[in-house]
Symmetry: none
Subunit: 195 residues, 4 copies
């Protein structure tokens, strides 16, 4: 990694810490600079402005997320188990990264400008991967075909995001991965009584 990239990462790291505790508005550039041990002006050599810095946080984390996730998928060959793994890993990851969860769930996910900014692309790569898994599952017959895979993805991610969001708002008082089996069960089999 070049010296340049290194400093960039160093700043993003500091930003992640600060934005992890305070909202975008309440976080101060001065605090980030201090935490990153650079002058305030230096931030502006690496990022266009405060928002650009803010939006640059997810890239790194998302990459980390995806890499780990792929490792976890190794050796799993059927769609349903991949989905189960996805559900578990998603919850596990945010349980382990609550500060980043705050940033992503309570700020980014709700921001039009983030979506428009190029920084959304990395996250899109992940959701594309999820779609792939679903389509493979449909092809192999383990996931219902005849249902729009986008809709299936919406259900899975909707539930997961909701779960993480609630957990954050309740100040992370309970175990986010708890009841993981039931969550999978309801997503897979629905809420309707089967007979």
């Amino acid at each position: 990694m070049s010296k340049n990239d290194l400093k960039r990462q160093q700043i993003i790291q500091a930003a992640a810490e600060v934005f992890g505790t305070r909202s975008f508005q309440n976080a101060a550039i001065s605090e980030i600079a201090q935490k990153a041990s650079v002058a305030e002006g230096t931030l502006y050599q690496y990022f266009k402005n405060k928002e650009d810095l803010f939006f640059s946080i997810p890239a790194q984390k998302t990459e980390e997320f995806c890499e780990e996730f792929n490792l976890h998928l190794e050796g799993i060959y059927d769609g349903l188990n991949k989905i189960r793994k996805l559900i578990w890993y998603y919850l596990y990851f945010f349980k382990m990264n609550p500060a980043y969860a705050r940033i992503l769930m309570l700020e980014m996910r709700v921001s039009k400008s983030f979506i428009k900014s190029g920084n959304y692309d990395r996250i899109k790569a992940f959701t594309d991967r999820v779609l792939e898994i679903i389509e493979e599952g449909q092809a192999e017959g383990s996931i219902r075909s005849g249902v729009d895979p986008y809709l299936i993805r919406e259900v899975i991610l909707g539930v997961l995001e909701h779960r993480v969001t609630r957990w954050l708002l309740k100040e992370e008082k309970y175990d986010l991965t708890g009841h993981y089996n039931e969550v999978c069960d309801v997503i897979l089999r629905g809420i309707k009584s089967s007979e």
Copy 2:
């Protein structure tokens, strides 16, 4: 309604319009006051501060939502159809109230202080009602028993909130109630291939 309450409503109405377009931070008290045809100082006779005014918006709308929802439930006696109606009405309501959707989905739903503020109660009344429906459905056998009703509620609301949020971020370009049947289907029957 007292003259006092009337003016209160007038202000909330103006606030809903302004906050419907701009974010909390970007909305100006001065604009709200102007739109409500009162002096800025007057706002502070009715609301403690900007946040208090902001958080006061949902009460009225939620009540409206609940009343209408109850009307729509009239004559429906089985749990599954109640759920279907819930799903439809939820999407329909936000389709008809996109400005309010913005406020609720992109700001309130993501705010710790809103939850802590008393103003969350009205919304809680609604989610309690959903829980009731689920429990009734479980009792009558149409909804799977043996699954935590809270979890079932989480799935339903998670999907719905996700759907509305995506729609807002995509600038309301498509029909929010579209594919309503498929949405119900996936929620009710799950994503797993049934055989």
Copy 3:
């Protein structure tokens, strides 16, 4: 004068003092506010921004200038003496108002945005008056006709502005109204040897 206008004047007065010593860039809003005994924010209730405040200074002074000038013209009925009076009064006025001279000659007169701003109008009223005097002089035969009055005005004001500017740059070390007679003479009779 309304209370509102009074405070406006008070601020302009303070601004004139500060801008009289420091350049536009070097003058600080905070100093002006302090000198005017108002909060910094108050300035922005009366003026759009720093530049707007700056450009608002000449109006008052120009009016004062014109009024006095008109008094001085009283009882003078021929064009040449009016021109002589103009020359004298112009030099005299800036001699008595060196701080304002700085603002007008070294900053405003050289600023495209000032000309474009409405605030230039008051000064235009003065130069229009000068043109009138010249045209009257031409009509009565005391000033050369057959020469564009605009050009004549340009000569008169050009010399005067140059004189005041030089005086300011030389730090007002000599008497600005000195040699007034010779100045008139050269402007009136030209530089060419008469035979």
Copy 4:
């Protein structure tokens, strides 16, 4: 010219281009460096600071101006025609160099620090030359003697500077050398009706 001087000129050239469009404050060192194809730090090897660089622009141009002017004077032996030539050439030069005109008329001419800086000397050489011409004219009898030659110079340069300045402020919309004959006429013969 040494390699060193060459780079110096290169930088001044770039500075002239940039300062020709933007004001001193608005021009960026970085842009000048880029245009001169040197690093920002390099500028500071050749010039003490931004102002020093800015003030260094006129030297070269003034020299160019004087050389050309002297060529134009060749073969003219009487004072009045020299003055006429001066008036014409002055207007012509700035018409051909509007960017430099901006710098000189709207910024330098109005700056105390420029006068104090040594860089004013080259310009002084020119005004000294003008004084010489006037004194020669007085000696030969074509220019009025008995009038302070400094005052005569003030009239000539005052009118010319005023003319160029107005032209710049009016965004160079008309021909600067237009009406050149009338300008000479008024300067030479004055504004007074001759009988």
